[in-house]
Symmetry: C2
Subunit: 238 residues, 2 copies
């Protein structure tokens, strides 16, 4: 079992997922959990799998047990923008939407514990604590989206790349100070570019610059060590 689903604020054992996490199940009492758990199913998907296409009717909402999920938007001419990354133990899915307006893909291998969306919506009507939990998560996602809008709209390439590294370090195996000092990038250069509104060449050049600075180390393209966290924070323009 991975460290990222063994988090500090563990509210309750989710029988459906058979794992402790801070997903939605923490909002439920034992009976509700049992009822929802009866409808749950486990799934594993390899990196790159499409989970929900644009226009699809989303049938499930899921606790992410491990891995990283990428939400993106497409323009008719092929331009792409990654609009959110979701990490274990986030909750994945958009209740109350009859069709998805984002493309949902597994960025890495992922394990999910899924519930039928309609069952979840029905249950929210009965269990106010569940709706409150989902509501708070939506508000947190909105806060994060706004933070990222600042990054997209007003930061330069160097600041964007540094901000991205900090974001990953905060979400993948975080340590005491809230940031990992060693991690694997869950995204290709191309995905990073689509997340930051840049090109792969610019991503590569900025990573090289940070490496030559001594701010980070990079091995085999994907493995990053943060050598100077304060410098990285300064580079991100906070």
């Amino acid at each position: 079992m991975r460290q990222d689903i063994h988090n500090a604020d563990v509210p309750v054992l989710c029988r459906a997922c058979e794992a402790r996490h801070r997903g939605i199940c923490g909002a439920l009492d034992a009976n509700e959990l049992l009822r929802l758990g009866r409808r749950s199913s486990r799934h594993e998907h390899g990196a790159g799998t499409t989970l929900v296409a644009v226009g699809d009717r989303p049938e499930h909402c899921s606790n992410i047990l491990s891995g990283v999920v990428k939400l993106s938007k497409l323009l008719a001419d092929g331009r792409q923008q990654v609009v959110e990354l979701q990490f274990a133990p986030d909750f994945l899915g958009r209740p109350f939407a009859e069709q998805s307006d984002v493309l949902v893909e597994a960025a890495t291998d992922v394990r999910l514990c899924s519930f039928p969306r309609l069952a979840l919506e029905a249950m929210m009507a009965d269990a106010p604590a569940l709706e409150n939990r989902m509501h708070r998560q939506a508000l947190r996602q909105l806060d994060d989206a706004r933070d990222w809008m600042m990054t997209l709209g007003r930061k330069n390439a160097a600041e964007k790349v540094a901000s991205f590294l900090l974001m990953i370090a905060r979400h993948v195996r975080p340590q005491d100070d809230g940031y990992s000092s060693r991690f694997d990038l869950p995204l290709s250069r191309s995905d990073i570019a689509d997340f930051l509104g840049l090109t792969i060449e610019t991503i590569s050049r900025q990573l090289t610059r940070l490496r030559k600075d001594g701010t980070i180390g990079i091995e085999r393209a994907r493995h990053v060590t943060v050598q100077d966290l304060e410098a990285l924070k300064r580079a991100a323009a906070i």
Copy 2:
């Protein structure tokens, strides 16, 4: 009374606001409405007024009765990004947050019907329909934020400005086809630049280009007429 608060989907008369609108009050039954209405207060603010500063404890949530509210984020060096515009009859405020992480300002003169945030949070616990209403609004805001991330990250200046005009036309006095053909820009060139991640000079040049194209007309800098809606949509890259 303004047309924008007389909308088609009018659920209920809100006694607190003394106005029909599709704000949160539509989720309440008569008793709840009365209870919340007793705690409400009306406010008017001139354009440019700061409603909530970053770090402030937000005391109120409000139905916007008229006008436009601007939410923005600041970097230490003064760079600014507008992260959302809210129009009547949207609901303004971030429940469950002890301090604001955005700067909330009146972009135009605004009239608000405000409720104490804590009263509203307490009431959400009692009235599931109210929490559901707020939850759905948060999800809609998240969808909009993601749309705008695509605009910020992947569109060029011409597309950004066209997208902005369409967004305003959809929200200010919308007509049958969902877009106004005549409206006043609720934002200065400087605010538009901070919304689009551009400079005022670029905004001005792109507006001039659209005017010379015959796509739009501009009088006295702020008043816009949409002369060719289809061309404007094409210019926005949808």
